[in-house]
C-alpha cells in the first residue's frame, strides 16, 4: 500500500502484535480514500502541461526582465521548478501527506531559493500557480491539491 508517514509509523509501532480496533479504523479510513485520490491524481497529472503553460504565460508577462538577470535559461529553469513542485504536490496529495512534500522537496528547494536570493522573484509564479487551480481544474481537483500548493508557496516564497 502507498504509505504516508502516519501509516508507516503505525507499521513500525505494531511490530509483533495485532492492530487495535482504533488503528484498524484509521487504516480503513485511509484505504477508503485511495481510489478517489488516485482518480484526482490522474486528472492532475493529465493537466500538468495546461497548468504550467497558463502560469508561465502570465509569469513571463509579469517578469519580462528575468532572462536579463538570470540568463537565457531562466524561463526553462522556472518551468522545470514549477513542474517539479507540481509533481511533488500531486504525490503528496495521493499519499495524503504534507510531510512528504516538506521532507522530499520543500526544505531543499527553500534553501536553494534563499541562497540564490530568488524568493521575491519567484513569488508571483507560485501565486499564479494557486490562481491557476480554479482556472484549469474543477472544484474537487482544485480543492484536493490546494493545501499542498499553499504549503509550497508559504515555504518557498512567503
Amino acid at each position: 500500500m502507498l504509505m504516508n508517514s502516519s501509516v508507516a509509523e503505525l507499521m513500525q509501532q505494531s511490530e509483533g502484535r495485532y492492530l487495535r480496533p482504533d488503528e484498524l479504523k484509521t487504516l480503513h479510513a485511509y484505504v477508503e480514500g485511495i481510489p478517489k485520490r488516485v482518480r484526482l491524481y490522474q486528472v492532475l497529472q493529465a493537466k500538468e502541461q495546461e497548468l504550467v503553460d497558463w502560469v508561465m504565460e502570465k509569469f513571463q508577462q509579469m517578469m519580462p526582465n528575468l532572462p536579463r538577470q538570470h540568463g537565457h535559461l531562466a524561463w526553462e529553469r522556472c518551468r522545470r521548478d514549477l513542474i517539479m513542485v507540481w509533481r511533488y504536490c500531486c504525490l503528496a496529495m495521493l499519499l495524503n501527506d504534507e510531510d512528504y512534500l516538506r521532507d522530499k522537496l520543500l526544505y531543499w528547494l527553500e534553501t536553494i531559493l534563499k541562497s540564490f536570493k530568488m524568493r521575491d522573484q519567484c513569488q508571483p509564479a507560485y501565486k499564479l500557480m494557486l490562481d491557476s487551480l480554479s482556472a484549469v481544474f474543477g472544484p474537487e481537483e482544485s480543492e484536493s491539491i490546494r493545501p499542498y500548493v499553499l504549503l509550497a508557496k508559504s515555504m518557498l516564497v512567503n
Binding site: 508507516a8 509483533g16 480503513h28
Partner: protein, 292 residues
C-alpha cells in the same frame, strides 16, 4: 527474528494459557467488528457507469463479473445485476438509480481489476515512490493501488481470521513438537520460544497482508536460535495447518506473503538479489575504475 515488541515480561515458567495471554490475545477485536465486509467503501460513482447504467451491456458485464468472482464478492453485490435487470424498467427507476450507482461502480471496478494481471504488491511502496521521485507514478502502480484498496475488505477479513486462529494453529504445530495439550506445564522452554517465534511470524504475515507491503516480513532473519528451535520445520507445519484452515480464495490471497515469509526465514530458499548473483564471480571494481 526480531522480537523487540513482544511482551518483555513473559515468564518462560508460566503456564501456556498465561503465556498466550502475553501474546496479546486480549488485543483482538470481537468477531462482530466495527465494520464488516458487507460495508462498501465510499467510492465515487464513475462517470463511465453514470453514463452507462441504463445500458444492458453494463448489466451483462456486471452479471458476468458477479458470476466469475462470486467467492470474493459479498452477496448483496452478487445479486445486484439481477435486481438491476428488473428495476431498470420500473417507473420508480429514476428515484432508485442513485442508490445503485456506487455498488455497480464497485462491481465494475472489481471486474476490471480481477481480469487484468495479478497484483504486484510485493514490491515495497517506498521503493516504488523513490524510483519515481520527481515524476508521476506509473499506470501499473496506480492500478496496483486501486486493486489493493478494492481487496482491503478481504484482507481485513483474513487478518482477523489470523488473529482469531493464531492460538489454535500454534497449538497444533506444538503438538507435532511433543506438546500433548492440556498439561500446559509440560511445555518446555524451547516449545515456548518456538510458539513465540511462530506468533511473531504470523503477526508479521498478517500486517504485510493488511498493508499490502512486504516490509514487515523482511525484518526477520533466521539465526542459530531459530534453527535450534526448529523454526523452519515448524513454519512448514504451520503453513500446512493454515492452508488447511483457510478457503482456497483466502489462501490464494495469503500465499505470496507466506512464500516471502518462508524465503526470508530460510536463506537456502531465498533467491539472491539479481545484481549480486550475476556479479558474484567478478571482483568488485575499485573506486578509480568506477569513476574512470
Amino acid at each position: 527474528m526480531l522480537t523487540s515488541n513482544l511482551n518483555p515480561n513473559l515468564d518462560l515458567g508460566q503456564p501456556l494459557a498465561v503465556f498466550l495471554q502475553g501474546l496479546n490475545w486480549d488485543n483482538r477485536p470481537s468477531v462482530q467488528t466495527f465494520f464488516s465486509s458487507e460495508v462498501l467503501p465510499e467510492f465515487g460513482a464513475s462517470l463511465l457507469l453514470a453514463q452507462s447504467v441504463f445500458l444492458p451491456a453494463a448489466i451483462g458485464r456486471a452479471s458476468a463479473c458477479a458470476q466469475s468472482c462470486r467467492q470474493r464478492i459479498p452477496l448483496p453485490l452478487r445479486i445486484l445485476p439481477l435486481c438491476l435487470a428488473e428495476l431498470c424498467f420500473s417507473p420508480a427507476w429514476p428515484q432508485l438509480r442513485p442508490c445503485f450507482l456506487e455498488p455497480l461502480d464497485l462491481l465494475t471496478r472489481i471486474a476490471f481489476f480481477k481480469e487484468t494481471s495479478p497484483m504486484n504488491d510485493l514490491r515495497p511502496w517506498p521503493e516504488r515512490i523513490a524510483d519515481r521521485e520527481g515524476d508521476y507514478l506509473t499506470p501499473d502502480d496506480l492500478q496496483d493501488l486501486i486493486r489493493y484498496a478494492l481487496s482491503f475488505p478481504e484482507r481485513l477479513d483474513l487478518y482477523q481470521v489470523l488473529q482469531q486462529q493464531e492460538r489454535a494453529w500454534i497449538e497444533q504445530v506444538l503438538q507435532q513438537h511433543g506438546y500433548t495439550g492440556g498439561a500446559e506445564s509440560s511445555l518446555t522452554p524451547a516449545q515456548r520460544l518456538l510458539a513465540r517465534q511462530l506468533a511473531f511470524c504470523l503477526r508479521s504475515l498478517g500486517l504485510s497482508l493488511l498493508l499490502g507491503d512486504p516490509t514487515p516480513l523482511q525484518q526477520g532473519t533466521l539465526g542459530a536460535m531459530e534453527q535450534y528451535l526448529g523454526l523452519p520445520q515448524a513454519l512448514d507445519q504451520l503453513g500446512a495447518v493454515v492452508q488447511g484452515s483457510l478457503s482456497a480464495e483466502q489462501w490464494e490471497l495469503l500465499a505470496p506473503y507466506w512464500q516471502l515469509l518462508r524465503a526470508t526465514g530460510d536463506p537456502s530458499s531465498a533467491p539472491l538479489p539479481k545484481a549480486k548473483a550475476e556479479g558474484a564471480s567478478e571482483p568488485a571494481p575499485t573506486l578509480m575504475e568506477m569513476f574512470a
